[in-house]
């Protein structure tokens, strides 16, 4: 696995995401995924950045130079729980409806809205499981799919 996951604690201030994004694009770093959201600490947000092995040291150092970046931890894949959310809208008809819902639910997705010609599924889990669901439903015609970016947390204290 050449991927590395960085957990970046930042000050929750206007423009922080722009600063991080600007640093990444300016230095030409390769980023696979970036997700941002609040933490349990007032005034602090967490960004989860998935990057390639070769650029990880420079990504860490350049991001650390940003005044609003407080701490960067590289997560050890052995002790990391990773999760991503997905919403997927797929075509259905009378013939395929049962099969689509069955396949989706066996994959761990939850149907959140089903119409006569479409169904919307929600799934949370490891990114590779979301990939599987996507591949499974592709033959039926995916109308729209959104993924929320990967977030991750260390399992040990």
């Amino acid at each position: 696995m050449s991927e590395r996951i960085l957990s970046v604690l930042v000050e929750d201030k206007p423009g922080v995401l722009a600063r991080v994004a600007s640093t990444i694009s300016r230095r030409g770093f390769n980023i696979n995924s970036l997700a941002v959201g609040p933490t349990n600490i007032q005034g602090r947000s967490k960004m989860t950045i998935v990057t390639e092995l070769e650029s990880v040291e420079q990504v860490k150092k350049q991001l650390n130079k940003l005044i609003n970046v407080i701490k960067i931890v590289e997560l050890d894949p052995e002790n990391t729980i990773e999760s991503e959310v997905l919403l997927l809208k797929v075509s259905i008809n009378k013939d395929t409806q049962t099969s689509v819902i069955e396949k989706a639910s066996l994959s761990g997705a939850k149907s959140v809205d089903v119409g006569s010609d479409y169904a919307v599924f929600e799934m949370t889990g490891a990114s590779k499981d979301l990939d599987k669901l996507e591949n499974l439903l592709k033959p039926f015609g995916i109308i729209e799919m959104i993924r929320g970016g990967r977030i991750a947390i260390q399992t040990k204290l």
Binding site: E11, G15, A18, R26, I67, N68, K71
Partner: protein
Amino acid sequence: MSEEKLSGAELVVRSLEYMNISTIFGLPGGAILPAYDPLYDSPIRHILARHEQGSGHMAEGYAQATGELGVVIATSGPGATNLITPLTNALMDSTPLLAITGQVASEAIGNDAFQEAYTVGLTMAATKHNYLITNAEEIPQILLEARHIATTGRPGPVLVDIPKDILNQKVEWIEPKLIDLPGYKPTLEPNPKMINQAADLIKKAEKPILYVGGGIIHSKANEELFELATKFQIPVVTTLMGRGAFPDGNELCFEMPGMHGNYTATTSIQKSDLLIAIGVRFDDRVTANPKFFAQNAKVIHADIDPAEIGKIREPEVPIVGDAKSVITGLIERLEGSDLKTTDWINELNQMKKDYPLSYIQEEKGPLKVPFVLEELQKLSDEDAIVVSGVGQHQMWISQHWNFTQPNTWLNSGGLGTMGYSLPAAIGAQAAYPDRQILALDGDGCFQMTCQELITASTENIPIKIVVFNNGNHGMVRQWQKIFYKNRFSASELTHHTPDYVALAESMGATGLRMIEKSDVKKVFEKMLEINDKPVLVECIVDPEDMVFPMVPAGGSNDVVILNEDDLKKL
């Protein structure tokens, strides 16, 4: 009893006074106007530039000459966008700068209001950090934070953008709190383990080289460097930004390596077995193609900015810390060791004899910049500050001027900003009214910011300007000669050359001219006598001259082009 209320603008001026800022550079306009009103009554000296780019370089010159914060103030929109060049310049050369810009009123932000620009967004990649103030009460605290960020760690520019309504908002002065930035804690003290490892490598080295740069000057570590080099007999090369960090003329000083460095400095690194790199960033103008750079050397790399370490070259010993502490630590750990570097130093001195910097000044031929520089140095003060533009003349100054003190060489190293010299010299003279400030510029550079000559005259800033006029963008011409078969596309400036003497006089300065060898001494003597107003000397020089040695961009430092004949090697 509540204290008297102050406007945001008054808070800005009071904060600058609180920080003991004595001189600022700027140019007013709509959004920043409220701040200019209390400035009218303040003891702070405001120097009115003719262009915001000029004001920014003035603040840089002030900061580079003093090692202290330079402050520039500008209005919104074009005022702020005109600052982008000096901000980026300061970022590249790690110059501590505080820029305060006016912004359109808070409620107009985002509406494409008159003179609105997204200053914080535009300057994000041009500053170390920037702020948009949303409440006047924050002004003192944020300005102090901005100064702290600009002047500590690796110095750099910080911009504070203040909307006009915030400048007019009435609030109480809140005494600034102790600065606590959770994400900003520069490492000053190096890890002793790394210092030990470095010292062990140094003790074993047979051909060590101290490769030092601007970090020594920012850290004011020149005395410590001198002790380290002389006590343990380690030769030194100084980068363009590090000229003056170690005295030229010392037998251990081999001056500048790199693209237009001298042969010995460049080659010493190639032959070295240990590079002790302190306060440098392995810039491409030093390394050429990094694949071929110092291939036989182990590397100790000390820098205050962790991101510089391993960016270009992975060192054997990485050290994060302030240059002064790093060097002090090394001296302590090396105490008592006897480095066997005599053969190495002899080898380098022999090389220096075999490959000297040379030029030929013919009695009746056109003036050569190196000759003119050497004549000027003979006549000028030991502590004169030399401020350069960018290009051939800059390289010649770095090669031929003897720098013996830090902060006496100001130039635009990283960004290569033509037009830097004249305004930066004004900034330096504002800091040191009684020192000789020599703006040594090219004609192409001078034309970029020459309106600031009016600023110098108006403010009684008696800088001495030498415009080396070769009627060309000389370095561009040199490259066109070497790489573009003498096709001089857009590099000639001769079609409408201004009369520089008349131009100087029209702007309130004294104008002088030198054409022949016999002019040089008497014109410079006259120039150096004038101390009540700026003086400009036009020096007509040979347009065919090229700067050597030269290592072409992307080449190997093993192949140094020494002269025109050597170009056949390419």
